[in-house]
Amino acid sequence: MLAPGGVLTLLVVVLPFLVAVYISFLDLDQYTFRRWVHAPFTGIDNYVDAWRHSDLLHAVWVSGSAAVIATVVALPVGMAAALTTHNRFPGRAAVRSIYLIPYVLPAFVVGTVWRIILAPDGVANNLLHRLGLDTSGANGLWLNGPRSYWALIAVQIWASWPLIYLLVLAGLQSIDHSLHEAAALDGAGWWTKLRSIVVPHLRGPVALGLLITVLHIFNSFTLPFVLFGVPSPHDVEVLPVLTYVESFQNFRFGLSAAMAVVSLLLILIPLLVYLRAVRLDVGEDDR
């Protein structure tokens, strides 16, 4: 019964993975593409090329820094949301449902929507203007030029804080009731209680939430692709989009494959940390 799933995964995940690594050693372009097996083998030339003559390093920087900044900002937002829905109040179920909407919406919808909100004369600039903020810098552009980097981060935050919220909420609810009782007996104020009881308990879920969110944003293709379109503005040329463009716009397949392999190597370390954190097995006790 393991066979169908196993065979499919081997065929469509493991085999392409090996092909990806192989292609990254080939001089493959649109001319050699049809007979790709016979394309000239060039060793690590593509990797050297990616390092020296492409936007790879810049893209790694953009993807990595945006992922870290967005995650760091999403953390307090997610924690605040979890704190507001931990205790019962009328309408809590509705609030909980609403909090998850940004996470549930498809990334291609989120990208389309924000693309219009952030348009040069769009509603975002209009609103900022009414609040008395000067939006004329950078020609009021959010989807192009230096500000686009911050637009990407802002939209990533909007879309990804609910996952942290979910994990933190689950963590909050697993705090033992006797701890709440003890805090009440000692007459601890809410801030003391948060600092000395709640926060220490949330280390596990928070660490996991940060890790998953960074990985998720680092790998995200659809949101930047839809939000900024291709060719992507240089300031927001993230690694997944760059890899895509090298393949399907510039037809430099070998170079693109090398970039893809590099992106896998980059996420390998956080991924291994994550794998250690996830409980893989039930252990022998409940057999």
Binding site: F17, W36, V109, T112, D121, N219, L280, D281, R287
Partner: protein, 288 residues
């Protein structure tokens, strides 16, 4: 008693609670309300940055079906994602059953693989999948790229690791005694799976099917490369609106917003209906 209980577990003072809740709701609902308003607005008014429509009209909800073949896109999305959902749930429950109830060499490696594969960047596999489909099509003399089959196979294999993982976390919670008892009674493994495990684990099946459905529904990366005009999904069709202008230089903003809402609707409905089960799946990767 109940009010004392509330006082003991309370984490935030009342005014702060109200303030935070209001701000968060505004952050989430602001853009969503705006999208709805813009979908009833004129393109000119949206382009000028108006929040409230000058004239409310639902004409955009009519126009979206003819401007771009959105109907065809939605149909393709439903067919491909729907079949992927059913197929992956069925395959996943079989794999997960073996992984949970049997001990064998390499089992932990497979479990690690299930979690790890979820984080492999899609861009890594896009090019080789494309190359392999093209080669296979050349060798066999058939069309693969551009068919729904190509999408189906791709999404299925991407959905399987996660679906299987969700089922593994679910089946762990079922008592082993039930299937043991059936085995003692002489039931075959297949009978145990189809008659006992599957009926008992339908909430898990629903969750893993929905996640597989969403994976197909939300994908742009693969669909933008391996579909053509006839087989493209709703996600790709929505991108076409961005390149469409009607009689002037202003994009069809109102229609884009209406179409975006239509594309999001099935996902939001699925989520609202199955919310209780889905949240356990959302945190399945983080269940510790």
């Amino acid at each position: 008693m109940k009010s004392r209980e509330a006082a003991v577990t309370r984490l935030l003072p009342r005014p702060l609670h109200a303030a935070l809740t209001t701000i968060l709701l505004l952050i989430v609902l602001g853009p969503i309300v705006y999208v709805f308003l813009a979908s009833t607005n004129t393109d000119l008014s949206v382009a000028a940055g108006d929040f409230w429509p000058k004239h409310v009209s639902f004409v955009n909800y009519h126009r979206i079906w003819s401007t771009v073949e959105l109907g065809k896109g939605l149909t393709n999305s439903v067919i491909v994602s729907g079949t992927v959902a059913v197929a992956s749930a069925v395959v996943a429950v079989g794999s997960a059953y073996v992984l949970v109830r049997h001990r064998f060499r390499g089992r932990l490696t497979i479990l690690r693989g299930l979690v790890g594969l979820q984080s492999v960047p899609g861009t890594l596999l896009l090019l080789p999948v494309f190359v392999l489909f093209a080669t296979l099509a050349n060798t066999l003399g058939i069309t693969i790229i551009g068919t729904r089959w190509a999408l189906f196979v791709t999404y299925l294999s991407f959905a399987l690791p996660f679906s299987t993982w969700v089922m593994v976390t679910y089946l762990r919670g079922l008592p082993a005694e039930v299937s043991e008892a059936a085995r003692v009674d002489g039931a075959s493994e297949w009978q145990i799976l189809t008659r006992i495990v599957m009926p008992l684990s339908w909430p898990g099946l629903v969750v893993s099917a929905i996640f597989a459905f969403l994976l197909g529904w939300n994908d742009v990366l693969f669909a933008s490369v391996i579909t053509n005009v006839d087989t493209r999904t709703a996600a790709v069709a929505l991108q076409v609106f961005g390149a469409t202008q009607e009689g002037g230089a202003i994009p069809v903003y109102g229609q884009m917003m209406a179409a975006a809402l239509v594309c999001a609707l099935p996902v939001v409905i699925l989520y609202l209906v199955f919310q209780r089960y889905l949240i356990s799946g959302l945190t399945a990767g983080g269940g510790k």
